[in-house]
């Protein structure tokens, strides 16, 4: 033993220098964090959900998934509403405008590398990207330490908002594709990704469930005016009504959704009974006054330079619109006209009296003047001369070939026109949902449940009452009391077209009503010729714009194709009817 110890000591002594050096190397090479990267300022998930301030920042980031219709197709503001590819509301022409619109009109929805990719491929991928970000929040928020009641209250609301945002993104998918793969957890590359599609009912039920969870957690008002733009209880309840109505609508009930109008009517009535929202007295003010009591949820946007709206403004008025974003004659025909008895009745172009007073704003639905520029209209002191030889010109090849522009989102008080750099600017929030829409949803659903004079749950608020609220605000006369269920439905559909124009509703309404093939029908121009006496003669025979694609399968009008690239990766995804799954790419 002694011997060994002696040997050991001697050895250690002999190699003392080497041991010292060796230790230095080992210690240097092997210090604990040797392979850790140098500290960075970057966040990680652990950090994010360890502090309510960081969690709030993350939750705020989720609001980037609530993007208004002004950003359709390109992601840039001031672009195109989906309205311009619906059946009648608007029209666009020419490849120099957003080719995404044109491609959809031309039926090129499945062109994986084409420009319709924004509305098909990008929308699909982007919604799932948003859903993932929201799922991360919903899986982690409970880790955030909450020290005060105020923190707890704020967190409740933030969680509720997140549920709502998830429902909103799913509904964007459902509107376009029907039932979609449900992803309600954060997926990683190692998780099963071959998730089959849920049925339309299951998809909507999930949306409704998120809305219910959200509604429970949120207040009806934001905590302070600095947070205007955050989601409130009413939005969740309203989206629920919209989703339920979607599933009960004719196309989907014909496709076995198994959903009931009564649920939609009840959900809409719940919003009405919240007594938080009311109609603005003036129709135009709904769009001009931000944060008004009619708006249920919206995209709170920065103050925009007016140029971002210049695509709405015709060139002769100093804007940039030269053929894109026009209204059609079919849409203008939707505005009712006052008859001799003072009642507003559907406009009939074949009625000489109606025709003679087509642009008589004393007789047309006042919303016409508020929404559309027409031959002879005045705008910022200028007269719009949409006639052959006039400053706007007219005729098939002309920029303003339909004879109409839209001004619904424009403020006449902001000086639009003049030289570049002298434009005014104003904030204009995109409205996703407003009280008038809720009233019309209720009217539509309740009429289907029990006819115009029925009311949900014995509330006494009839379908007729609801639609007349909207009509009265617009300045129209009420629908007659004895109107039939069918007539009521027809007038209601017209009411929605007029009231909600350029709010991205018509494009989807025609899809859920199962009348989407009207999207393929021709629309017409109003070609005005000035007579010697200063009056005008109108020719409505010319169809407007590029030839619209006639889908061979009716379902193709309603449902987008699922991006084929995803189908090849997920064989469990069943393509929508009418679409094929061919994709070959070149290297």
């Amino acid at each position: 033993m002694l011997n060994f110890n002696f040997f050991f000591m001697k050895t250690i002594y002999k190699i003392r220098w080497i041991l010292i050096l060796f230790s230095i190397i080992i210690i240097n090479a092997c210090s604990e964090d040797f392979l850790d990267r140098a500290p960075t300022a970057d966040l990680d998930q652990e950090k994010t959900f360890s502090d309510i301030r960081l969690a709030r920042e993350y939750q705020i980031g989720l609001y980037k998934s609530l993007v208004g219709g002004f950003y359709n197709f390109s992601g840039d503001p001031g672009q195109f509403s989906l309205e311009f590819i619906s059946d009648i509301d608007g029209h666009c022409m020419g490849a120099y405008f957003n080719t995404s619109c044109i491609d959809i009109l031309a039926g090129k929805l499945q062109n994986t590398s084409g420009s319709s990719a924004y509305e098909v491929e990008f929308k699909w991928a982007n919604c799932y990207k948003n859903i993932r970000a929201i799922n991360i929040f919903l899986e982690n928020y409970m880790k955030v330490p909450l020290n005060t009641d105020a923190d707890q209250k704020e967190m409740n609301s933030m969680v509720g908002e997140a549920y709502f945002l998830r429902a909103h993104n799913y509904f964007e998918l459902v509107k376009r594709w029907g039932g979609v793969p449900p992803v309600y957890k954060v997926l990683t590359v190692s998780d099963e990704q071959r998730i089959p599609r849920a049925s339309i009912k299951a998809s909507i039920d999930s949306i409704v469930a998120d809305c219910d969870r959200g509604a429970k957690l949120m207040d009806t008002q934001v905590s302070s005016s600095q947070w205007l733009g955050r989601i409130t209880k009413g939005a969740a309840m309203g989206l629920k009504a919209r989703a339920l109505l979607w599933g009960a609508s004719p196309y989907w009930s014909a496709h076995n959704s198994g959903m009931e109008y009564s649920d939609a009517a009840k959900a809409a009535l719940d919003v009405i009974d919240l007594n938080v929202y009311s109609l603005m007295p003036k129709y135009k003010d709904v769009f001009m006054v931000n944060y008004n009591p009619e708006v249920i949820y919206f995209h709170n946007d920065v103050v925009r330079a007016t140029w971002q709206f210049m695509n709405f403004v015709p060139i002769p008025l100093g804007g940039w619109c030269g053929g894109n974003m026009l209204a059609t004659q079919e849409f203008v025909d939707c505005y009712e006209i006052k008859d001799g008895s003072g009642k507003y009745v559907p406009f009939d172009r074949n009625n000489p009296d109606h025709l003679a007073n087509m642009y008589n704003t004393d007789r047309r639905d006042p919303r016409f003047k508020a929404s559309v520029l027409y031959n002879g209209a005045k705008w910022q002191g200028l007269t719009c001369s949409y006639y052959v030889g006039g400053s706007f010109g007219n005729g098939y090849t002309n920029n303003f070939y339909t004879g109409y522009n839209f001004i619904k989102w424009l403020d006449e008080g902001v000086h639009i026109g003049g030289l570049v750099g002298q434009y005014g600017s104003r904030q204009t929030n995109w409205i996703f949902l407003r009280y008038a829409d809720i009233l019309l949803m209720y009217a539509e659903a309740q009429n289907q449940v029990g006819g115009p004079n029925s009311s949900a749950g014995g509330s006494g608020k009839t379908a007729l009452w609801a639609i007349n609220q909207v009509r009265e605000r617009a300045g129209l006369t009420d629908l007659p009391n004895g109107i039939s269920k069918e007539d009521f439905d027809e007038r209601l559909r017209n009411e929605r077209a007029v009231e909600l124009v350029i709010e991205d509703q018509r494009y989807f309404d025609v899809k859920r009503w199962g009348i989407a093939d009207v999207i393929g029908k021709d629309v017409h121009q109003a070609i005005a010729t000035k007579n010697a006496d200063g009056t005008f003669t109108y020719d409505f025979s010319q169809t407007a714009g590029p030839v619209r694609f006639k889908y061979s399968v009716p379902d193709q009008f309603v449902l987008y194709p699922i991006p084929v690239s995803d189908i090849t990766k997920n064989p469990n995804l069943v393509q929508n009817p009418g679409w094929q799954d061919i994709m070959r790419t070149s290297n």
């Binding site: 392979l35 998930q45 989720l62 990207k129 709170n300 290297n587």
Partner: protein, 941 residues
């Protein structure tokens, strides 16, 4: 998370335990041990093995090479190495090197790990006289200890050390001449103009674009014609036929048993070809590279047991070029029309036009200059301690190295005027001549690599049993300011066991980590097992005199490659966040939120290779030797774009994931002879290295036509169509599948309907190659000495390769450029509007009809541009004469040798026949390739 981390302090007790265990064990049986030495191969870090596949060369074989870049000298000597020299710019004329070919996916990291004296560094700028040997480690048995960086092979550069004895002084001087090779021959203005007329005719212009009067002026370059209608020979006008290069080096070596030294001082100067580079007598703007090398390698025997090695080396390099830059100058020379402008106007001004200031005289001499100064500096300290007092054969090595790199670039810009000349010789000035501007920073880069390693080696024989065992820890860290350092850390062990000196078994295992991966998965285990059988030592071969050596080897192992594609993000496991600004509030304002900008992939890991090798080394009659190795390399977990694997519902996309797989196999063979016959000493060998790479999985989308699939094909090379000729006439067009690349007519390129779908479009592309990587690299080396005369020749052949040939070699008219002589091989069928001559080249055409505008049909990526480029060339040739010693003794000189040699001397076989087959694009996109012929002397005192 913490518990998965390697607890680094565990290493100390482990290694100390190893010490103690070994000492206790060996102490117990310290007698009766016979020390026996055998030739073994070092595979780095003083670790030895007998079962590895390694090729090596000696520094003295390459130290007189006319090329100065060491990467060029590996070609032909080392089996398993394939290379491609990419150009001839001074100081930047090195070669791309692949070991055992290209074995990963196309944009993967395929470069080998390079270590100089066991420390990471760049060997290409070393002076050849500094080199003792270069070893290429090829199989897993040799590279497994390199862990995450072993899979692409390892190049070990060892520098020369002093030998005990009296001072030896060696002086080398070499002066050479560079010559450009592989430049296209361009047509003069007359021939150019006639073909432009033809191109216009092909486009329907029946009247000549250049009429006979103008053509006559191009033809008669006399009087005013040289100004009004010039015909400029750009190559002859702007590039000198030769450019000098020179290299001197002084080597001092010697020492005692206690201190040995080897000192190398070297300088190299390589000049460029620019004819006009001296506008201002005070400075030249010619391209050049000046290098100074310094190395001191010291060995100090501190005690009987402790040996210190100390290396200090530095390289000072200055690169110069005109401000306009290499690619602009070469682009202009190789592209500009001969009739664009006269070089000089009648009054001696620079020719040009209102929108063409590219006169190469201006670009070369009046645009200012760029100057980059590199300062590299390497220090290595190493201590080897014999621990034979613990047990015989035990030693420990500790080493630390620092490798610093600084580069500062300066730019000085200058502007100049050009003048156009009209028919009356009136000159119009454009731009202004201005003085040289104040210099500004061009670049300012620095990085440094620190590395530390230690190995414990045990090498001992017990009777019939021989053991060589090592334990290793090494790490290195490359720091670049503003970035996280690149760090690697390995813990390894190897064991070699030999029985009866005939049967050998080897094994290595390494626990290897790097900083790029998630903390819990930074380390991986790599290993190899190997065996060898020295048949020659078997009794049944004892009496067979013919066989003087016969050994078979085999190995199998797992190695790694943590190099990433150049566009791959570091730390891909990290989820990164970025600010996003949604708007809230009554007075709306953007409020800061955060959102993911990169979603981390926690499964991200390194590429792996399962490598198998079987080899044979033999020698017959002590003269003929041969060596053969067959290998397979199965790569998996290769980084590839996974977008075709993960559906959008995943909610995020990854640019890379470990989804690729590729298989490579190949062989290396070498047969040589050493023969002495009278005064003749002959050394000759013939070697070949072959590899074939196939993609097994690359993440491509499913449902492609088989021709479009990358799977089953080599991972590298271009995609393109198969050009199968030119449409003879309208009838042929009518009878052929429709081509969907724009309009076409007779004389345009006809493509194969590869996928047989009746139309020709992007879906007909297939891998057409063009990457320049040879599948088969061969070389013949011959060295004969007769008395004082020596002759060395190296012939290198590369086969199964193809390259991309730029359009400058046949038709650059559509891009505003000139024509090379290959344009004469175009398809033509017309009557010359000027001469009335009928021209019909349809049956022998090699290129499509000429056009003045870009034809999208003819410019598709196709086999028209990617062409086979096998070649055989005399890479190196050297003839030397060593003066008889008798003469020298009197003047105290030990040895004097004079020699003349050449590099890239001549092509023996050239499949391409256009430009330099190794890389024809060099002179178009960069700086032309060179041949170097030099004379030198080497004097030893």
């Amino acid at each position: 998370m913490k518990k998965h981390k390697f607890n680094n302090f565990q290493a100390i007790p482990i290694l100390l335990l190893l010490f103690l265990f070994e000492s206790a064990y060996v102490y117990a049986q310290s007698d009766g041990i016979i020390e026996k030495r055998d030739s073994t191969i070092e595979i780095g870090y003083n670790i030895k093995s007998k079962t590895v596949a390694v090729s090596s060369l000696k520094g003295m074989d390459i130290e007189t090479h006319a090329t100065d870049n060491l990467s060029n000298s590996l070609t032909g000597f080392l089996t398993g190495v394939s290379s491609q020299q990419m150009g001839g710019e001074p100081g930047k004329d090195g070669s791309l090197i692949w070991i055992r070919g290209f074995r990963t996916l196309n944009n993967g990291y395929g470069s080998p790990l390079v270590l100089i004296d066991n420390a990471p560094g760049d060997y290409t700028a070393l002076d050849p006289n500094e080199i003792e040997s270069i070893q290429v480690l090829k199989d897993a048995a040799a590279t497994a200890i390199y862990g995450q960086r072993g899979a692409n092979g390892v190049i070990l550069v060892t520098t020369k050390r002093g030998v005990a004895g009296k001072l030896t002084i060696k002086l080398d001087a070499q002066v050479g001449m560079q010559e450009l090779t592989g430049l296209p021959n361009f047509l003069n203005s007359y021939d150019y103009a006639r073909l432009v007329n033809e191109a216009k005719y092909n486009e329907g212009d029946l009247l000549p674009y250049y009429n006979s009067e103008i053509l006559d002026k191009y033809k008669n370059q006399t009087g005013n014609n040289i100004y009004t209608n010039p015909s400029v020979d750009y190559v002859g006008e702007f590039l000198k036929p030769t450019a000098p290069t020179q290299r001197y080096s002084l080597n001092l070596s010697g020492g005692s048993e206690t201190v040995k030294y080897n000192i190398v001082l070297g300088t190299m100067n390589q000049d460029g070809f620019y004819k006009y580079a001296q506008n201002d007598p005070k400075y030249s703007t010619n391209a050049s590279s000046n290098r100074y090398n310094l190395r001191t390698n010291l060995d100090v025997q501190i005690s009987k047991r402790l040996n210190l090695k100390f290396n200090m080396a530095g390289q000072l390099i200055k690169y110069k070029s005109p401000y306009a830059g290499t690619s602009a100058i070469w682009g202009e020379i190789m592209h500009e029309r001969p009739n664009a402008y006269p070089v000089f106007t009648p009054s001696g001004n620079l020719g040009g036009t209102s929108n063409n200031f590219n006169n190469p005289v201006g670009l070369m001499s009046r645009s200012g200059y760029l100057e980059t100064n590199d300062r590299n500096f390497q220090v290595t300290g190493q201590a080897i301690h014999q621990l034979d007092f613990i047990t015989k054969g035990l030693s420990v090595t500790l080493s630390a190295a620092y490798n610093g790199y600084n580069s500062y670039g300066l730019q000085k810009k200058q502007e100049y005027a050009v003048y156009s000349v009209d028919e009356t010789l009136f000159e119009t000035k454009y731009g202004e001549d201005k003085p040289l501007q104040v210099g500004t920073d061009l670049s300012n880069n620095m990085n440094y690599i620190t590395s530390l390693w230690s190995s414990l080696n045990y090498d001992r024989t017990f009777g019939d049993h021989a053991i060589q065992a090592s334990a290793l820890v090494n790490f290195d860290s490359k720091s670049i300011p503003k970035f996280s350092p690149y760090v690697n850390l390995n813990y390894g062990a190897t064991l070699n066991y030999g029985y009866l000196d005939r049967y050998f078994l080897g094994g290595s295992i390494v626990y290897s980590g790097s900083d790029n991966y998630a903390p819990e998965s930074r380390f991986g285990t790599f290993y190899s097992i190997s065996g060898a059988w020295d048949i020659h030592k078997e009794s049944f071969l004892n009496d067979v005199d013919a066989v003087s050596q016969l050994k078979v080897r085999t190995s199998y192992g797992l190695t790694g490659n943590n190099g990433q594609p150049s566009d791959a993000q570091r730390y891909p496991y990290e989820t990164l966040y970025t600010s996003t600004w949604p708007t809230f509030g009554l007075n709306p304002s953007a409020v800061q939120g955060v959102t993911e900008s990169q979603t981390g992939n926690p499964f991200f890991t390194w590429e792996k290779a399962k490598q198998f090798n079987i080899g044979l080394d033999a020698e017959f009659y002590n003269r003929i030797y041969l060596s053969f190795d067959y290998f397979t390399d199965h790569r998996f977990d290769i980084l590839a774009n996974p977008s075709n694997k993960f559906p959008d519902i995943l909610g995020y996309s990854l640019s890379y994931a470990n989804i690729g797989t590729a298989n490579t196999n190949g062989f290396e063979a070498l047969i040589g002879v050493k023969q002495t016959a009278g005064d003749f000493v002959i050394n000759a060998d013939l070697n070949a290295s072959f590899f074939q790479n196939k993609v097994v999985e690359n993440g491509e989308v499913s449902g492609l036509y088989s021709n479009q699939q990358g799977i089953g094909k080599p991972s590298y090379g271009n995609w393109g169509l198969q050009a199968i000729g030119f449409f003879y006439d309208d009838a042929e067009i009518a009878n052929s599948p429709k081509q969907e690349f724009g309009t076409y007519a007779p004389g345009d390129v006809k493509y194969a309907d590869t996928n047989k779908d009746g139309k020709i479009n992007a879906q007909d592309v297939t891998r057409i190659g063009g990457a320049g990587v040879p599948e088969l690299s061969t070389a013949a080396n011959l060295k004969i000495t007769y008395k004082g005369i020596d002759l060395g020749i190296q012939i290198v052949g590369q086969f199964n390769r193809s390259v991309w040939v730029p359009s400058e070699f046949n038709n650059a008219i559509p891009n505003g450029g000139k024509l090379a002589e290959d344009a004469n091989l175009r398809w033509a069928n017309y009557i010359d509007p000027v001469s009335g001559e009928a021209i019909d080249t349809r049956s022998q055409a090699k290129f499509p009809r000429l056009l003045t505008t870009v034809s999208t049909n003819n410019t598709q990526s196709s086999t028209l541009f990617v062409r086979g480029a096998d070649f055989v060339r005399i890479k190196n040739l050297e003839i030397g004469y060593t003066l008889p010693q008798l003469w020298l003794k009197k003047i105290a000189i030990a040895n004097v040798r004079f020699y003349v040699n050449g590099y890239n001397l001549a092509l023996i076989y050239d499949e391409l026949k256009t430009g330099d087959p190794e890389y024809p694009g060099a002179c178009i996109w960069g700086y032309g390739k060179t041949r170097i012929i030099s004379v030198g002397t080497s004097i030893k005192f």
